[in-house]
């Protein structure tokens, strides 16, 4: 469901030359429809209609512009179902609950009983704000430090929004198709970001962004890809957030910003990823890669929206790849560049995409890969032998400490790859290999013991069978002696 064309549609409806009252009614109708269409979860609870219909604005409302009496709902709730729904949504919203009334956004004088006074231009009545002015109306309160203090809300959203790609297009190109406040937060049914049913709740953010950014028609004028949501969903981050519901996993906003939404530049990526991957960032900063102005960044090896769990296969292509000088060098002056297009395919995010197999660096990468492979294999064998010993009924928990030491060193060794230093990686992988060997020796001893138990069992069973034969002989002699 798309929001922007509908909004245009509503705006068209709104400017129809009609009587003032009719205009308001139609606009209200349209808005109610829009809200319901934009966010199905926002439909009001089927509660008794009486309370919201007569809901008076709390008289204790601290806001200076808040009406002491919300006369708007008295009439509007009775106009028709949609207007009625709007009043209900508002009453249930964070604004309704805090006593922020209709006039805060729509203008007018809610204290006046006479409709011609309440909705007069003299009283500052605005009608339905258009999309280019809506951001400013929200900002009137939300960028006001004094007003926001009591709610402990930040006030930098408007500034950030103005700096975002969305805000820039809105202000510079007067492009009203971009996302504005209400597209993400709702219109009358604004919810707190901490409310799990809010569209801006972290778990819902990828779907919210995708509602526009995955729509090829909407994105056509901007010439930007629309597969980010799809690739994100399949990524390690997307799975963690959307499937495991792990709120620590990043949504779109974690890397792109929310109000200040803008793709991070290549030079900014390390810091963006490092916000969570602190240990890895620290290791990367020590590397030769980090010292190059146009050296590989996180995305060069791990991708962007499509980050997967890394493993040892990330070092090299299975087959020797076609080395393309322009991947890393400027054709004219041979200076270092980074051709981002060469890394769009995950299969190409490998060391040997840049380092051709006759270079010294390639052999170093090979050595690092070899050290990790060796440790990883040693750990795998140790784990497998321990599992075999456990399957043979042996108690193997005494190998737990050694095995987790091996695992710790192996995981650290993998992380140490980011330093691109062979010695640092090898120190950890050697420790992992020797600990794994220790754990394996333990498992072998247990398996040996199991085997010798079974050998002893065979001997004992043979002896018992001989006993049985002797007893059977006795039995036969007994029966021979006294048949029956």
């Amino acid at each position: 469901m798309t929001i922007v064309p509908r909004a245009i549609n509503w705006a068209r409806q709104a400017v129809r030359p009609l009587l003032l009252a009719a205009l308001v009614a139609v606009a209200g109708l349209a808005f109610a429809g829009a809200t319901a269409a934009a966010d199905p979860s926002a439909s009001p609870d089927a509660g008794p209609a009486t309370s919201p219909a007569v809901a008076p604005a709390p008289s204790s409302a601290p806001d200076a512009s808040a009406p002491t009496r919300e006369s708007c709902v008295t009439c509007h709730a009775a106009i028709d179902n949609r207007q009625h729904d709007i009043t209900e949504q508002w009453a249930a919203s964070v604004h309704g609950k805090s006593g922020i009334g209709c006039s805060s956004c729509h203008g007018g004088d809610p204290t006046a009983d006479d409709v011609t006074v309440a909705m007069s231009t003299e009283a500052g009545f605005l009608g339905v704000p258009d999309r280019s002015s809506a951001v400013g109306i929200c900002g009137e309160c939300h960028a006001n430090i004094e007003r926001m203090r009591q709610y402990q809300l930040p006030t930098d959203q408007l500034t950030k929004y103005r700096a975002s790609v969305h805000g820039q297009r809105l202000s510079e190109a007067n492009d009203t198709r971009v996302a504005i406040c209400t597209d993400c937060h709702g219109v009358h049914d604004v919810k707190k970001a901490s409310d799990p049913t809010a569209a801006v709740f972290p778990l819902n953010v990828p779907g919210l962004c995708a509602s526009c950014h995955a729509d090829a028609d909407l994105m056509k004028p901007y010439d930007i890809p629309t597969d980010q949501y799809q690739t994100y969903q399949a990524s390690v981050h997307g799975k963690a957030l959307l499937i495991d519901q792990d709120l620590r996993a990043p949504s779109c906003a974690s890397c792109h910003g929310s109000h200040d939404a803008k793709p991070p530049q290549s030079s900014e990526v390390v810091g963006v990823c490092g916000k969570c991957h602190t240990a890895t960032q620290a290791l990367y900063e020590q590397s030769r890669h980090a010292k190059l102005a146009v050296g590989p960044k996180c995305w060069t090896c791990h991708g962007t929206h499509d980050v997967v769990t890394p493993d040892e296969s990330r070092f090299f292509h299975p087959e020797r790849p076609q080395i393309d000088c322009t991947t890393c060098h400027d054709v004219n002056d041979r200076s270092l560049v980074l051709n981002a297009d060469r890394f769009t395919n995950d299969a190409d995010r490998r060391c040997d995409t840049c380092h051709h197999d006759t270079s010294i660096i390639y052999s170093q990468a090979q050595a690092i890969h070899g050290a990790l492979d060796k440790a990883s294999a040693a750990y795998g064998i140790a784990e497998q032998r321990i599992a075999e010993a456990a399957a043979a009924g042996m108690i193997v928990s005494d190998a737990d400490v050694t095995l987790s030491e091996a695992k710790t060193n192996l995981i650290r060794g993998r992380a140490e790859v980011h330093t691109t230093r062979l010695a640092a990686v090898a120190a950890l992988t050697d420790a992992a290999t020797s600990k794994a060997a220790e754990a394996q020796a333990f498992a072998e001893a247990r398996l040996q013991e199991s085997a010798s138990r079974r050998e002893a069992m065979v001997v004992v069973v043979v002896i018992i069978l001989l006993n049985i034969v002797a007893l059977l002989l006795w039995r036969r002699s007994l029966h021979a002696h006294s048949p029956g």
């Binding site: 602190t278 240990a279 737990d400 400490v401 995981i411 002896i463 002797a470 002696h481």
Partner: protein, 167 residues
């Protein structure tokens, strides 16, 4: 009931190995049967007694039979602001001397199972794998990827001796 009540007539029936072979004519066969039965008796007794006697001999590594307390060292070895990882049975345990007293936690990171260590400069228990940080005072996650706090282990201090209490 008559058939199975004690049958006095049979009370003197052959019941010993000496008499069992009355029906066997050949003395050779009789001797063989006696040898076989003797083997039977001896081997059965040996088979049963060997594990029993072995079981009764106390193992050399005495005290390992589920001791409830594991000594860690003295408070002098572990001044305030220091931590150490020890093995409790088959589980690594980190013992930290904090300003709030001596604390012990499972040393297995709740993220991917690496063994954590105490970092005095950060005053935190840090997992070297992914920089997961835990509070030394209560084991809770301060930052990083660990999903759960480190489970606490009971620790007892008697005079200057530190013990871990399993259970």
């Amino acid at each position: 009931m008559q058939p199975t009540s004690v049958d006095r007539a049979t009370s003197g029936d052959p019941a010993t190995t000496e008499d069992l072979s009355r029906g066997i004519a050949s003395p050779g066969r009789r001797r063989f049967l006696r040898a076989a039965l003797s083997f039977s008796v001896v081997s059965t007794i040996a088979m049963i007694l060997t594990p029993i006697v072995g079981f009764l001999i106390p193992p050399k590594s005495s005290g390992g039979a589920g001791v409830g307390r594991i000594p860690v060292g003295t408070t002098a070895d572990l001044p305030v602001g220091n931590g150490t990882v020890v093995a409790m049975g088959s589980k690594p345990v980190i013992v930290v001397n904090t300003t709030a007293g001596i604390k012990a936690y499972s040393a297995v990171c709740t993220h991917l199972g690496c063994i954590v260590a105490f970092d005095p400069t950060a005053d935190a228990i840090i997992c070297p794998c992914h920089d997961g940080r835990f509070s030394p005072t209560n084991g809770s996650v301060i930052s990083g990827p660990p999903p759960q706090p480190l489970p606490p282990i009971a620790v007892a201090v008697e005079k200057d001796q530190i013990f871990l209490v399993s259970g």
